[in-house]
Symmetry: C2
Subunit: 390 residues, 2 copies
């Protein structure tokens, strides 16, 4: 099933533009989404309300014909690209070929993503094509609503994610404690070692990943600290895993907090409160509610318990100091925002809910599930248990 591109058609009409142009590799999720094609070198996608056309190198032509969602695939060679390069150099050759390509489809004006490349844009402008970067980032708005197929891709990545979390938890469970430090197979058990276990498990289940967070104690009090060094008993260890399926490109995202040994009463209270905030936020998820509403539920819960939030104190450095969640798809962070500026939730939105509390003197606690908004509420794609003590 193809996504609903009508909001893009509306934008083109409102801005009086003939088409939407992307010039990027498929590492750019808007390119991958619009083209339905994966390639490491930049290629061009021209979207018009009538059809989508790809312009690729000869090398990618056969694969693009087979794999992409485009109605037509063209080759730069059809525009005498090699001859143009020898005569004018690669930048001008590209501009000439692209201008001719657009002209063939009667496209004299295009909108582009905000980060469309400047050199090619100026090259087209010099040849009379109107090129305008559009701020609204309409395709990312369209991407927020997932098809059933996309939801299955996220679910598959989340299954791999749970295997990886299990491997991490098992490693921590199997460790001994010596002088307050976790020890495994005769060596201190480090963040790095647990991350390696997570990443190897993900690979074995068809996923890669950019980064993993395994942060312990005071490290974990900074929500952006990736964690390093030996893990300690009786301290909170935050594990946040956000793998990408190598096959589909879709992500999952989940966080758990573990303590090996005996958590302090302070850690336990924060954990229980965070678990309540998670459940309260999930309960609030349904179409028509905004991401801001869901974020407010979490802030309410924390503030009632006496903690700072960024809502109650914009410069807070302890307490709940990030937003409640975000959309997940081809990008690990995408729309909608579950935050003070969060959009209205719609069926098919895939979102995280990830409340957390941070304080250097206590450590960090965060619990994150991933869920899909349904017609009448949500389905939680997470089945991993929420238990503090390993």
């Amino acid at each position: 099933m193809d996504p609903d591109f009508s909001p893009l058609d509306d934008l083109l009409e409102a801005e009086d533009a003939d088409g939407y142009l992307v010039d990027d590799t498929s590492h750019n999720s808007t390119q991958k989404y619009l083209s339905g094609f994966e390639a490491h070198d930049p290629f061009v996608t021209l979207y018009t309300p009538e059809k989508t056309i790809l312009l690729v190198s000869a090398l990618e032509y056969g694969r693009a014909k087979k794999q992409s969602r485009a109605d037509e695939v063209r080759r730069v060679a059809e525009y005498d690209y090699r001859e143009l390069v020898s005569e004018h150099g690669p930048a001008e050759a590209k501009a000439r070929a692209h201008a001719e390509f657009l002209d063939e489809y009667d496209v004299a004006s295009v909108l582009t993503p905000e980060r469309f490349p400047l050199g090619p844009a100026d090259g087209l402008r010099e040849r009379g094509v109107a090129v305008e970067a559009e701020e609204s980032d309409r395709v990312t708005e369209i991407r927020a609503t997932k098809t059933d197929e996309e939801i299955e891709h996220v679910r598959a990545a989340q299954n791999a994610n749970e295997e990886a979390m299990r491997a991490a938890e098992n490693l921590i469970a199997a460790a001994d404690v010596e002088d307050g430090t976790l020890v495994y197979e005769g060596a201190p058990l480090t963040s790095e070692r647990v991350k390696e276990e997570i990443e190897v498990t993900l690979l074995r289940h068809g996923c890669g990943l950019d980064d993993t967070i395994v942060a312990c104690g005071a490290n974990a009090a900074d929500p952006h600290d990736q964690g390093s060094g030996p893990l300690h008993a009786d301290e909170a260890i935050i594990i946040d895993i956000f793998p990408r399926s190598k096959e589909t490109g879709y992500h999952a995202d989940m966080t758990r907090t573990f303590v090996k040994g005996d958590p302090s009463e302070e850690i336990r209270e924060r954990f229980d409160l965070t678990h309540e905030a998670l459940n309260a936020a999930l309960d609030a998820v349904e179409p028509g509610v905004t991401g801001a509403d869901v974020h407010d539920v979490v802030c309410d819960r924390y503030e009632e318990a006496g903690y700072d939030t960024l809502r109650s104190n914009a410069t807070a450095e302890t307490g709940f100091i990030h937003s409640t969640g975000h959309g997940v798809g081809l990008d690990v962070h995408e729309l909608p925002r579950i935050a003070s500026n969060g959009e209205e939730l719609k069926p098919g939105h895939v979102i995280t809910i990830e409340p957390g509390l941070y304080d250097p003197s206590v450590g960090g606690v965060r619990i994150e599930d991933i869920a899909v908004v349904t017609e009448d509420g949500y389905e939680n794609l997470t089945s991993y248990p929420v238990e503090l003590v390993v």
Copy 2:
């Protein structure tokens, strides 16, 4: 030791520009190189002949101060970014903050990489800053010459690469053959399974990677085929591994060709000839020689033996149908080119030499080493043996 940025100074002077501006994440190697900083979100680097200044979010400020090679690090918050966003939206807020930032350093005109983002560029132009994408991609030229430290980074990645190649070869060696298909632990040994072994081994040695090629038989006759499905006895299996160190960001690159069982006389001849071509090309590597000269050595060898090359036949689909090699560094493919348009080699260039022969009726054979150009020749960074039969 800092790289020699004087060619960039020369360019700025020739083009009468005040600075060189990059707005990208550190996934862009020019950004990583100029800034010496890694961040997943876009940030700004302003290079001037006097100094390099970073403009980052508050979140990255502390880390940028510690880790980057910049002389100064500034925060967008210093330009009332939040207030600007509420008043004008994120795109205009960014343009205003960046324009003010440039003005503070008396920079009224900038050159940028060819793929600088269009929206921010137009935003600066509207505020009177002259912004021009420069075609020569001068920083990639500078990046071609590695410092001793960079060479050590490549060497470390190559060590991990050799461990991964060893793991792959061991897996093929341990397989049985049933009806011509490799079988391991009761299941057909597939390209996918060997890739998994390679990628897990790389992870265990601190490297990630984008892709791996494990291609057998007719698959391997297309140099860009990544390979899939069961591996077969008596057929050539090309394994091409190009990992990236997670710590340093530098790559290595190596290819070997293996046959499990008995290679045909045809495969053996092509393998031996390719090995000779590799050694002849390496022998030709020294400062002052061009990448084109080295490529010619390989073409000579193949053509003398009666094979097509792209030099003798630009549309050849069998024979030696790619270039001889490329630079390796923060990008797995970078300057210099070891190809018909290859640049003059200089001490500190890190290059691959990767001759190969392809024919769907025979399969593919490729052997690739990675080497650094020295004052009087080259040092081969590859120690993995070149042996066909496993």
